[in-house]
């Protein structure tokens, strides 16, 4: 009983940390983007305001049960993904529920929220939602391929699929990181990461500037708030995952913050520098060079 209570407490701490970190990171990066574009930009705490505002709006419009459940699925997906990843190497508090499964579980749990969200948005009947979903899913299938190849390469390199095991194998100096021991896998993985983050040049899925497209189209109030909460957590989870896979994980919170900040900065840097792909272009992109790099990484492990 005590064990369970402690686990619940640890979980809450872990979630609290990632939520706040994720929100602050989002706010910071929004300011970075603004600077690049010569604007002052929003305050760093703007994401908090958005979420609070959305959660206190007068009406939450919904179109049916599935619509109602969509954001729930999405947030559950984000939470679950995060909770199946060990965040800090060697820490009990931040080990989360990593004992439930290995890397494969995390890779597939990412889909949980996406699928549920897509279904919820679909019930709105608004055509922009499924258009966004169809683009998003199509792009997802393409960037998952190099990512999967990178993961396979790492798994065969270290003989394990356990995230803790992979992090453990990278300890003992920067040169032990996958980024240096298996650079091809890292390159393939990090290109996929761009797609996964849905920033430029792979942002057509959300098309944020011209017309808001994709699942958030018809979501408002509490539903939108939930999506925003999820975005912070889910982003954090993905950053932690990639940090663990390619950059040696983190022994404490500070290292985690630095590493994930730089990872996110890389996404924003690329996003600010490149224009946007059409969906078919981005699919073709991912199935081209990144996939070949991924195959090369795998083949190198075989010989």
């Amino acid at each position: 009983m005590k064990d369970i209570a402690m686990k619940a407490l640890y979980t809450l701490i872990s979630l609290f940390v990632i939520l706040n970190y994720g929100l602050l990171l989002t706010g910071t990066m929004a300011r970075v983007r603004a600077k690049v574009q010569g604007r002052i930009g929003q305050p760093v705490y703007q994401p908090y305001i958005d979420i609070l505002k959305n959660n206190f709006l007068r009406t939450s419009i919904y179109h049916g049960v599935m619509f109602f459940l969509g954001p729930v699925f999405r947030l559950a997906g984000g939470l679950g993904t995060y909770l199946f990843i060990p965040v800090i190497f060697g820490s009990t508090i931040f080990s989360n529920f990593a004992f439930s499964g290995d890397l494969l579980l995390v890779m597939y749990f990412i889909f949980f929220g996406q699928l549920g969200m897509a279904l919820g948005a679909g019930q709105s009947g608004h055509p922009y939602s499924p258009i966004g979903v169809s683009r998003g899913l199509a792009q997802m299938t393409a960037f998952e391929l190099p990512f999967a190849l990178a993961v396979i390469s790492i798994a065969s390199q270290y003989g394990t699929l356990s995230i803790t095991g992979i992090v453990a194998a990278q300890q003992g100096g920067i040169l032990n990181w996958v980024a240096f021991t298996n650079p091809l896998a890292m390159v393939a993985g990090m290109i996929s990461f761009l797609g996964m983050s849905m920033d430029n040049p792979f942002s057509i899925v959300l098309a944020p500037q011209e017309i808001p497209i994709g699942p958030p189209t018809e979501m408002n109030a509490g539903f939108l708030g939930m999506l925003q909460t999820n975005r912070a957590i889910f982003n954090g989870a993905k950053l932690v995952l990639f940090m663990n896979l390619f950059f040696g994980g983190a022994g404490n919170l500070l290292v985690m913050v630095v590493k994930t900040f730089l990872l996110y900065f890389y996404v924003v840097f690329v996003g600010a520098s490149f224009p946007r792909f059409r969906p078919d272009q981005s699919i073709r992109f991912f199935l081209g060079i990144p996939t070949l790099i991924g195959i090369a990484a795998v083949v190198l492990q075989m010989v």
């Binding site: 179109h63 579980l105 199509a138 999967a148």
Partner: protein, 1108 residues
Amino acid sequence: MVSPIYAIAIPLGAAFLLPLFEKAGKNAAKALVLAILAALTALPVSWLVVWIVNTPNLAGLLRVSPLAVDTGGFPAPISIRLAAGIGEALVMALVNLTAFLGITHMLVRSQAKPTGKTLVLLLTLVTGVNGLILTRDLFNIFVFLEITSISTYALIASNGSKRAYEAGFKYIIAGSIASSIYLVGVIYLYRLTGSLSLDHLPRSGGTAIALMLLTTALLLELKPFPANGWSLDVYQAADPGISAMVSAVGASGVLFVLYKLTPLLSPTHLRLIAGSGAVTFVFSQVIALRQTDVRRMLGYSSTAQIGLMLLVIGSGRGTIPTIVLLGLLLGNHMLSKAGLFWVTDLIDGNRTIASMSDSGSLPALARNKPLLVAMIGILLAALAGLPPFPSFWAKWHLVSALVPNGRWLLVAVVLGGSLMEAGYLFRWFTRFTKASEDPGDVHQERIPADVPVTTRPQTGTVSSRSGKEALARQAASTAAATQATTQTIPQVVRQAEQPVEISGSPVPTIIATLVLVFGGIAAAVGFLAPNQELILLVPLAVLLIGALLDTLRIPSKIQLLLGMLGIGVYSWLLLPSLGGIPLVFGLLFLVGGLLQMIALMQRKGHQPGLAVLVSTLLFSLGNLLFVQSRLGFFFSWELMSIVSYLLIVRGRAASGAALRYLMFSLGGAYSILVGLVLLPTGFAPHATSSLWAGILLGTGFLIKIGTVGLHIWLPGAYAEAEDEVSSLLSSVLSKAGLFMLFTTAGLFIQPLLRSVPGVTLAYLLGWLGALTALAGAFLAVFQEDIKYTLAYSSMGQMGYMLLSFALMTQLGWINSMYLAVTHLLFKTMLFVAIAGVVHRTGTRLMYRMGGLISRMPVSFFSVLIGIIALSGVPPLTGFGAKWMLYTALIEKGWYLQAGMAFFASAIAFLYLFRLIHTIFLGQLKDEHREIREAPLWYLVPQLIAIIGIMLVSMFPNLLIKPLEMAIAGYFPQTIAWQGSTLVSTLGYWNGNAVMYVTMGVFLVPLVWLLATRRKHNQKVRQFNIVYSAERPDRPQTTHYAYNFYAPYRSALGSFLTPWATRFWKRVLSVVRVVGSSTRRIYSGDGQTYALYVLLYAIVLMLLLRGGN
């Protein structure tokens, strides 16, 4: 015993006396003829009965001393000896029975009844054939040949039409040439040996030329390709009753004479006979493929069958005596061919609808005359050599005799020709029995006419303007379309109900059919009894009982209940005796089958064939679980194929798809046949053996699985079958191939090359599996028709099972079976839920649906669980399969296959989302506002499957541990359990914990939303959205569904080229071209035909030189 002489004396005498009897009254003459034929049939039967009673076994029966009569009281070389052994008795019985039935048929039909003259000629023909069979004297054979020929010419011409005269005349020319050659041969032989008695001729030395002439003449009489143009016009021009007699009775005598000659012939002669038979067999089949006239097609088939029997005579010793083989083939051919000719006579009294190309005028027989259709089906199945008919057993023994002797060319000829024969016969079956509503072939994608060309997916992008036009047009036509869908069905029924006249009595045909059926069953008992495998006949018994219930028009619900009861009892008795892998698949086949049958209970009234075929299918799947002998396995496998074909063909537009299914199934079965014969130690589980056995058996099983490249049959069969049947095919039947792979796994583990030990057949299977998974997923993404999506999805899932199986590791095998079991559950949910949707909406096109979640919530839930379980998203069962798959693949070092499998599973998300979105989400269509939830009988199996999926998701060890035990001992242990955590060498997975965490993280936001926002949550109506700056008022304008993944299509470009489809189309067109160009040698000109006959004789003689 009665002397054989009466078999000649009575009909001959009666033929002369018949005009006198006619004076006494027409009916007296007819009665006399029938009585004589009945007596002639009874005569050899009486001999057979006496012999069978007096001899204990087959070997003794074959050695029984023949009844011999020497005419005129002199001993044999001086007089003519008639002898009747077991062979003679058998063939005579068949000939006279067929003749009896044939004459009865002609007498009882309503038009063109035979005149007295025709009856005389028929009796003469029978006399001639009986004489040919009985006589042991070569000159006497010539006499009977002439009697047969002359009566045949006259019979053909008796039709009175110009074409018939012409055909008869051509027959005379060719027949005369053959007779002359025969006569010259007889003269030679007499000059050389001083004797013409078959019993007294020397067995060797100096008679080569004479025998060569005799052989040539007999071959010519048997209409070998290409010197047979003269005979084919007969089938088309003559009265079908006469054609039946010529085809079935006439040739049998000559064939038997050739058989009697074989002891005298040298191996060269025999090889030549076999070669001539093989050429005739294969080319006749190729040409028959291109026939549009049914009777001409049957004519080619007759020629081909004769060719096959020549091959049997020429190919010498086999595992069973030639005469048994010949008897099986001959009896099968005579009864089925004659039966089919009579059928064309019955349904086409006016000779107007025999052409297959004119499908518009074909009557909807299936709806009006189910019994007649069943009869046609039986006759065709017998002709095509399907179990349990006599030719099936003959085919097995023929191939078993040819393969060990390395006569591969003949094996290829026999099997290739049989495949083509099945093709054209069953094409005719589907065309002829189904109503004109069936287009005959299926389009891969059903794009309706209201979608403009520019928006069709091939162009990649949607032109916005025409897209809008299309939407507008579509909206305008919605109302019309709904009306149309409700109206077309009655129209079809009206068309179908045009009366089908049966001209005459079908009784003789029915008798022929029954004789075939019982002959087949007797053969089955005879061939299966030595291996103590009579229990394999249970499916046949089920089929017979079911057919009886169908005849009594018992409602389908009762029949299904009886079937379920039967399967329940059968499972109860069978399953406890099984263990390991067979037990897993036994549960899958039988319990899974029961689950499927629940959905069928929705059918109202009497559905001919449905319940009986489903039950038979499940029983024949049950056979596979315990069968031990090779023959028993092949029998069960073929039975399963034909029954499933009959189930598929019931679909409303399934004729093309069913035919493809049959062709691929039979092709696979023939591959299996040769593979089985190659197995050295009988068919035992995990027998290790030669590479070729592995390749051939593997190919057969892969066809059943629907591996990429061999999958052409799959989408159509799954999609066009009736909706509940699709579920059965996909969730249960598709696992048969997988089970057999498990059973024969030992064949796939030896290296292909000594130098590369890693490359085994299993390694290739692994790649095929990965490719199949990917191809299936990609093909499913771009379908507009929901059933095609599910069909391709099944194909992809089978790919994963194949890939896991091919790993040959503990985790791989567990996963393969885990997938098989869960696939059964979630595909049942998906297919049956979709069956309900199609049932309610009346369309299979996804973009015609939308928003059905509000009308069919249970179906939605079922599909939701189904797609989550299929996609592999935790916490449901699918993730377990993915986890085991990737872990096993990486453990084995199959990294690239793992990458491919991962890609395939990502692609699967695309079609799964599309499926659930376009049907259940988005905008509800106006015409669907009032529809109800799916019928209860559909919901029950779905709910059972959902419970199953949830249980296994919550407690994966409930399924994984038993599977682990089922394969215990085959492989080194690579997994371990720590509590409910499954630990592999690479990672770990605790399905239980995942489920709890997921429930936790799901409930927290849900409770939050419900608790804090309860007062604020507000549900709005369907059109309460803003799109294009306006509130939409028609669902069609805002339901995003058609060509859902257009960008993906354009991104992939030529990658999506259907190479496999293209390849098989090429194969088909090459066969067709060969068929039509070969057909050109038949100019229709009598002189040319005569020239062919002469040239053929000359070529044969050149080939036979020195054949002593």
